[in-house]
């Protein structure tokens, strides 16, 4: 019987397989950041163990880093101490680190692909659940906890039980104005936040094949929001073209050998998945969340659902609690929801194509009165690219704030936070209670919807801007 893409990559990394034991998998690339690594380095020190493969390990600073005044000492002493701990650990153990101010600094999941380190058929881990992003290259990539970070540092392997596989097939054409973010939010709403639990997802179908690498990263990034540790897309010419010439991409004969291998990395025609989901791309439209988990989403044209409409008691209770927290009423049109803040950035939507898409919409327009729009590039290099294209000027002229790279308001570990009761349209990945700041309310959206929302002051898609000069005053919230 044929094998799936996930099974092929898995099998190629088995160091040891024994009856009754989890497989011991080799890890090709280990990404580190300041938040989930300090206790792991401490563990190595206590046991007197070195980092086994410094040449397969790289660190960057992202979660705590400020996006303003990066040339000044970090104001929050606790954040500063955590970054200094990473710097000391990397220096002590010899790990390559890209610190604040370095051109390669940025969100760890933006940095790996941009350096060409994320490659098809590799295993990639990081103490961060959005490591699933790297699956866009046909890599088996997943988030791990700190104990596993220590395990990989010490052994370059992980003992793991093989997950099941789920195919998510998206055929057809995405309608104009519908993005990768809308697609993944719709997938999560369909299968639920636990639907992918225990599975590796493989996204496939003609709609996926047409997407850019950056769009594919947006989709794989949010596999974890569907409960799956990993999501993958088979590599193709789009993947190879993205990698060619990047700093750590193979060269010469190695390139040819690599591409020959990469071309074998697709699910066989007779491979069997444990589960299959089919989505018709043509049926999709801009999608936003209304609740406090990423599965609580709906098309922008819809209204806030009535909790009473849920048959499942636990879902009904969850919807009731979500509406209470979000300050929303059943039946309210989603387009009537006013926002205070718009955040464009994160490992989900902080790459150059995302910034271009948002800039194209706010260009020549103004951010609505009373709305704060933050634009945070995913990495310092993405920021430089945007500046070279003049996007920073476009954003600033529209009244948005142009910032330095980092995780920023996705999780508010740095000063970029929502105040209690404030509401955001955010291109990030989680609308959990308090995620963007205590009491903050988050609506997950695409960069295009974020930009249109910034201009109109209420949840909106670019199509709503055609009559922007006579933009209606929203009634709600």
């Amino acid at each position: 019987m044929g094998r799936t893409l996930a099974e092929k990559v898995w099998d190629d990394h088995v160091v040891r397989r024994a009856e009754g034991e989890p497989d011991l998998l080799f890890i090709d690339l280990h990404l580190l950041h300041e938040v989930t690594s300090p206790q792991a380095f401490d563990g190595l020190r206590q046991a007197g163990r070195p980092v086994r493969r410094l040449d397969l390990t790289i660190a960057t600073e992202d979660h705590n880093t400020p996006t303003l005044d990066i040339d000044k000492p970090i104001a929050d002493p606790v954040s500063r101490a955590q970054l200094e701990t990473l710097r000391k650990n990397c220096a002590d153990f010899g790990v390559r680190l890209h610190s604040l101010g370095d051109v390669e600094q940025g969100v760890v999941h933006v940095v790996g692909p941009q350096l060409g380190l994320t490659q098809p058929g590799t295993t990639v881990v990081c103490g961060d659940s959005h490591t699933s992003t790297h699956g866009a290259f046909g890599a088996l990539a997943f988030g791990i906890g700190t104990s596993q970070v220590e395990h990989v540092l010490a052994t370059q392997t992980l003992p793991l039980a093989r997950p099941k596989t789920m195919a998510i097939t998206v055929d057809g054409e995405l309608p104009e104005g519908v993005t990768a973010k809308d697609l993944i939010l719709a997938i999560i709403a369909k299968i639920g936040t636990g639907g992918g639990q225990g599975y590796i997802l493989e996204y496939r179908g003609s709609a996926l094949e047409k997407l850019s690498m950056e769009a594919r990263m947006t989709i794989c990034n949010m596999s974890i929001e569907a409960g799956a540790r990993a999501g993958m897309i088979a590599p193709d010419e789009t993947t190879f073209a993205y990698l060619k010439g990047r700093a750590h991409a193979p060269e010469g004969e190695d390139w040819d050998a690599a591409v020959a291998y990469w071309k074998t990395l697709k699910s066989d025609d007779d491979a069997e998945f444990d589960e299959e989901v089919v989505i018709d791309a043509a049926s999709l439209s801009p999608f936003v969340t209304w609740g406090t988990n990423p599965g609580q989403g709906a098309p922008l044209s819809a209204s806030v659902p009535d909790p009473a409409s849920y048959e499942d008691a636990s879902e009904r209770l969850a919807a009731e609690k979500a509406l209470e927290y979000m300050g929303l009423a059943a039946g309210q049109p989603l387009r009537d929801i006013k926002v205070d803040t718009v955040f464009v950035g994160s490992c989900t939507n902080g790459r150059i194509e995302d910034l271009r898409a948002a800039a194209a919409i706010v260009g020549g327009r103004k951010v609505a009165d009373g709305v704060r729009m933050l634009v945070v590039p995913g990495s310092a290099r993405v920021g430089l690219q945007a500046v070279s294209e003049g996007l920073d000027v476009v954003f600033k002229e529209a009244g948005a704030e142009w910032r330095h790279a980092g995780c920023s308001m996705c999780l508010g570990m740095n000063p970029d936070q929502l105040a209690p009761g404030e509401r955001s349209a955010s291109t990030s990945n989680r609308n959990f209670e308090g995620r963007q700041g205590k009491g903050g309310r988050t609506h997950l959206v695409s960069p295009q919807v974020a930009a249109a929302t910034a201009v109109l002051g209420h949840l909106a898609s670019p199509a709503d801007l055609s009559d922007a000069s006579v933009a209606r005053t929203p009634a709600g919230v």
Binding site: P22, V78, L117, S129, Q197, K438
Partner: protein, 197 residues
């Protein structure tokens, strides 16, 4: 890791689904660089509400958390496990756990037990009616027991063996160091490297 064999204690019924790791331990707590001192951050936002179940006097000293489905979704932060343990929890029962949270819990000796929702419902009813009711989580017998309730649970034999004996994963893996070295020796040259050493 501390070994887990069997544990008996009072329970906290948490009637919520999708309890994500941002609720278990908010991000600002993640700036700490130790594995302890997270107990005050556990469910920090909800604990501001005096009626929240964890704040009730009859729940003080409880050690078994009985939660709704999809417990531990979201971030990979192991701090969520440490916070539950620092607070005093020894076991968490739910009908479904997020994969990364579950892996983290078992690496730290916090036993996460998957039971059918109808058993979870029965445990909720029992412990809400009688806060003194004790719940036993028996890893040797792979069984949860409380008054009127006996439910078997599954846990793969390897994970169970590691927990029962409190074994350190890294030491176990390093016993197979020669397998790792053999694998490394045959890795293709086109594989990416972060350093040229």
């Amino acid at each position: 890791m501390e070994a887990f064999t069997t544990h008996t204690g009072r329970a906290v019924p948490l009637r919520r689904s999708n309890v994500d790791t941002d609720q278990i331990i908010p991000a600002h707590w993640l700036k700490k660089v130790t594995r302890d001192g997270f107990e005050d951050g556990l469910f920090e936002a909800w604990r501001k509400d005096s009626s929240f179940v964890l704040n009730r006097p009859e729940r003080q000293g409880a050690t078994v958390l009985v939660a709704g489905p999809d417990f531990g979704t979201g971030s990979s932060r192991e701090h969520a496990v440490w916070a539950l343990q620092n607070y005093g929890f020894k076991a968490v029962i739910s009908s479904r756990f997020a994969d990364i949270f579950r892996g983290n819990s078992l690496k730290n000796g916090l036993l996460t037990v998957v039971l059918e929702q109808k058993i979870v419902d029965a445990l909720w009813e029992l412990t809400e009616q009688d806060p003194e009711a004790e719940v036993t989580v028996d890893l040797e017998a792979r069984e949860v027991r409380a008054e009127g309730i006996t439910a078997a649970f599954e846990l793969d034999e390897n994970a169970r063996w590691r927990l029962l004996n409190g074994l350190d994963d890294i030491s176990i893996t390093l016993q197979n160091e020669s397998d790792i070295a053999a694998y490394e020796a045959k890795r293709p040259s086109y594989k990416p490297k972060t350093l040229h050493v």
